[in-house]
Symmetry: D2
Subunit: 406 residues, 4 copies
């Protein structure tokens, strides 16, 4: 294990990754570079500096990646109306490629030969970090302490801290949650605890980002979202940067009880797990994006997008953002978004994010043809007969030859 000289660690500043700093130094006898990013998890990142310094870290990276995260990862993903397994908005999955990319870039800058992360050996995140790492720097060494060490219980971790003088108050700042949580600008997730029984209802006090529908205001909130080429660029007429859009929608959604989700999902590593998620802004955004597409996309490209989406979602969920197949799918998706511009009006009320209007200068909705009233010849109803007759021809021939008909 002596061949690692320097390792870049995705460092949250919390207890677990602090233990990892020390464990890496000891086990690999190597230098540790910490990397802490603000991707909207809702906690200060600056305090990680002092903690890292206290652990003897000399190269400390602390960065605000919120805009890049939303602009280059969240928004492109939402252009595809991406949902995993019919429900999940991929809040955790989409943050990993950016972290992986920065880990590698920092490794290249600092001359590190390894990267490390605090994800367990049972989950998807290890896969996402490591696939990203290997794709961007094929010779990198990846160290996944949770798959290597024997600190497999909280007791052992605490003993390790005591033994190595790692200040345990790290973990006492807030009451230890019974849940395993992860957060970024797109969502906060909960796993473990009573959620391990899929029949058990999540407790109300678990949720952190949204009020319950019951507790939401009695009056609906209306909001207008302006799209340009598939991305939201303004809310109620105010131009916003990508991450500001999501921050504002999270506030609006959370206040109105929108975006809670409770599912059982299939992990890439092979087992089912139960997770709860709050994605207030994303839930609004998905609905709104579909609405602006409903006006501006051609039918066949829309249907093709829908057919490709589950694959695209799987690619991202499984950790293949930095892959040729993701780029290929993205090229197809982005090709369709050139005209996905306009305004969607939504009503937010007690858990409901409802589209109530949509308009666009690129609209393909043609009132003169769609109308039930006189269309002044814009559409010739007699055309329908030939259309139906030829579409029926193969079915008629088959039936005429005695084929199964029902």
């Amino acid at each position: 294990m002596s061949d690692v000289k320097k390792v870049v660690l995705a460092y949250s500043g919390g207890l677990d990754t602090s233990v990892i700093v020390k464990w890496l130094q000891e086990t690999y006898n190597c230098e540790v570079v910490t990397f802490t990013a603000d991707i909207g998890q809702g906690e200060e990142v600056e305090p990680a500096r002092a903690k890292a310094q206290a652990l003897g870290v000399k190269e400390i990276y602390i960065e605000d990646l919120r805009e890049e995260f939303v602009r280059d990862y969240v928004f492109p993903m939402f252009r595809a109306n991406t949902i995993y397994e019919g429900e999940y908005l991929l809040g955790t999955s989409i943050a990993r490629p950016l972290i992986a990319k920065r880990l590698i870039e920092i490794a290249n800058e600092t001359g590190a030969d390894a990267i490390s992360h605090g994800a367990t050996g049972k989950g998807n995140d290890q896969v996402r970090f490591e696939l990203g790492g290997y794709a961007l720097k094929p010779g990198v060494k990846v160290i996944a302490p949770w798959r290597e060490w024997d600190l497999t219980s909280r007791e052992k971790l605490m003993a390790y801290c005591e033994e190595h003088n790692i200040p345990v108050d790290f973990s006492n700042k807030k009451k230890k949650s019974p849940y395993s949580m992860d957060a970024n600008l797109l969502h906060i997730s909960y796993e473990g605890g009573i959620l391990e029984d899929p029949w058990a209802e999540a407790e109300e006090d678990m949720w952190r980002w949204s009020v319950s529908p019951e507790a939401a205001p009695e009056q609906p909130t209306y909001v207008e979202l302006t799209f340009e080429k598939g991305d939201i660029v303004a809310i109620d007429g105010e131009a916003l940067k990508a991450h500001e859009v999501l921050e504002k929608l999270n506030k609006l959604g959370g206040d109105n009880g929108i975006g809670r989700l409770d599912i059982v999902e299939n992990r890439y590593v092979g087992m089912k797990s139960r997770g709860c998620y709050e994605t207030p802004g994303g839930t609004i955004m998905l609905r709104a994006h579909r609405a602006i597409e409903s006006l501006t996309l051609d039918r066949e490209e829309a249907h093709l997008k829908d057919q490709l989406m589950p694959k695209y979602a799987e690619v991202i969920y499984n950790g293949y953002w930095w892959s040729p197949e993701r780029r290929m799918l993205q090229a197809a998706i982005d090709e369709t978004q050139k005209n996905v511009s306009g305004v969607v009006r939504m009503k937010l009320y007690k858990g409901n994010a409802t589209v109530v209007g949509r308009k666009s200068e690129q609209s393909l909705f043609d009132e003169s043809i769609a109308t039930f009233e006189d269309d002044a010849g814009a559409y010739n109803q007699k055309d329908a007969e030939g259309f139906i007759k030829l579409n029926a021809l193969r079915l008629r021939i088959a039936a005429g030859k005695g084929r199964q008909q029902s």
Copy 2:
């Protein structure tokens, strides 16, 4: 036009199809057989008998098809979690194949050589009726009066009624709605009127089947749905027939403000149209079905179902229920449903249908493996390294050879 001897008409008992009876008799000098079905549209069908008799119809079919409709059409469709264009639950589309089938069966029974319907030349329903008709009886003659006649305005229709002594009070029973509506056990739809402006919000008094979320009870309703092989067979432990399931879920959903939808959709005949829908029971059912599948389906079959679903939805929307491709897709879907059994617990509250628990004797959720706690060796975290390494191999080789990496 003298070659039609007898035509079976899909007859609602309303003004339009009553005019069609007379118009067919006159124009084709043929006998008309009426067929009126209760598929849960919420109106009495028996009154259609007297009206048909008054128009001189001798062969009158009035049938209760509610159970067949839900059991053989709605339920099979829901096994696929079918949604058209990300939003629409296909409430109108799924009723047409059954009507088409009965029209043809009645034509065969009565020796009729033609069928007729009251759908316009601009919509999807003409396609669905006629494709079904042709697929089941390839030599049938289809008469679509709205594509043929010149009664293109309400004034002309009324004049025709007066001229032919068709009692116009037919239409006065209820105040004429400004919307074009269609209903069956799965949904009620609204088109036309102010909805032809996609920016205009639907008026509250348009909606007929559900209260608004605002008007729904302050207390949530919890309900347990029991699935067997993909279909709901009991609600809160009470065994129900297929149509009773949907009736009960419609009541529960409608009372709690669930299932309203407002979309712009792409018609098969080529234009976009705006429609509003209420699908209270279906909305609950879809969520619940996904939840029971989340426990009982294998990951890869679930993902494959999701990839096939948009095509399956398109097939049904476009009117190809009676086609080889629908049967082929159905065979794949039904193959997956053998173990989709268990119970889903849902919370209904002011527009929200939320899954809060799911359990199944066929569950593939394995607590011993999924747990974040000690799993006693059920899962070997070290396996993950090899898993990731080999999955990364192609990416590493590419990166090692200088390929684009991001």
Copy 3:
């Protein structure tokens, strides 16, 4: 019919389209512009000028579109390894979008309000011409004489010629073939005659572009094809323009008995038809393209291309080249071709086009890993255990819970 002032006709110079010139002048009392293109059909196009002049045409377009045809239509299509229904290389389909585009461009240049073509009402070509026309000029009037006139037999056509002084020697230049044929640089096709019986073997003297395998040389021909970004740019080291590539491959293939095909296909208008095709160059090109991709494409993008290909083929076959869905698919396909460069060596021998070698500077083939000999640690065989274990996990859990296993 008086509303057409000027019509652009796709004019071959043959008897049928000459009749159409006259019929359009007479029936629509309009001016006719003729457009004749060399797309490699193997007949002189210049003689069409005199014929058109003799018919009173004043605006005559005669163009050599061979390079544009291959470069902008054939090559992009081959990047997807496009085959319709497992066999057909789409030789006719791919020529239509270019003709449609030029018809519309000429209509715009000459102020014409209509276009016309000589395709029948039973085939795919009418659809391809007209979809292209409508997509590029939505208000254009399309005149399809074969769907309108009553010249439904050869006798009636000849009578019309005599009546209108159309020189019938037009058709006598070569002995009238019993087959309906179409040719361009990519292929020549045969339909009709004895081919209407799918059990009947095509007669040897039908084939025009290739010798039979029996008659081909006893010695194989080896050829090296150089690809750049998915397209062939040189043969045996000689740089060639797109159409020169195809001309040369047609010669090589035809001489060696390569590229004959005899199939029953499904037309877009609903019936099956039997066609024979000679695609000598295309057959070589398809094989070679797959071979260079086998070295240079990532596995997952290759598989995704294969999954999209049948849809892409259908889009082109059905006439939707000028559609958003084709552009969307093309964007995905082209994204993958950046590194599809290198050389493929092929052996041509009596009907066989066999790949015998391939090399590329962008090759992802890694001898050090692929070898059965000692790989010096490039690949750790122990990784395979974890890879298999986690991939098997979902199957093991299911089997452990008593699910169907075989």
Copy 4:
């Protein structure tokens, strides 16, 4: 390693698996059960009995699985026209599920707790054997000696033999080939040696099952293949069992130089490899199956099959025969084969397997409609106008609103 009591080994009787017998006995101190199957590899299996006995094996299974192999694995796969990466007929892949199934059944019969095989850690076969094993007996222990032992060179293997008195003449029966080969009724494969250079042409004396096209007879052979529900049941009118069909077609194909393939493929474990294959009967069968489908399948089910095929091929190639997704796809495929019956006539000549005729009582080819001659009203050409107009509508609306047109 003391926890294995009895292991069932896939035993070829060759040197490598003989070493494995001894190594298992020694390393795991366990009983070894050998299983040797005739799946048409072209070598006697009975001699394996004496060899196993000499190694001290008490439970010896030797079985003729040829019919089961072709009937239950090869034929179902061919119903889908299955090809991996555009070229490969999956000859190796399709044999593994049957071997895995018998290994597990024998383990259950003999009370063994483990299975073992002689596949390396670099290839696909280990994955296929082990996924099958785990899927059918989730608690089984799998021993893959090539991933465990240190006999990593031929020298070490020979030393091991000498040390353990394993008769080395096992390997001298035939001159050691420079290639790694695998054979069964569907194909024989070659890897390694000079093939590790993708630019090098395979040597003529490598090929074992077919003559070269050059050496094939100067006269073509015609053959008629009778299909029932997608499978070949007779050749030239003679009813044959499944494996007899393939044996006969292998003979016919091999004699006529048919079925050689030389490709670079993507392994599931992540690298590219170069392989050569001879699949004489399969190559004929694939072509013939497509031909009978071309007459008897509906267009849309045919296209859907083509879209699903690459996924189905991937599932089999990757080793997931015993999976829910394979069963799901098979259900769809088999649903389409009910009417795939009839006769295909083929011409075999110097490497070419050409379809020259096809007929079926279930044919959907309708001469009366397809004809270019007068069809007596079977098809109304005027229907095409409406068909095209409505299919063009979305394109026209888009163009009318100024959208990109080309």
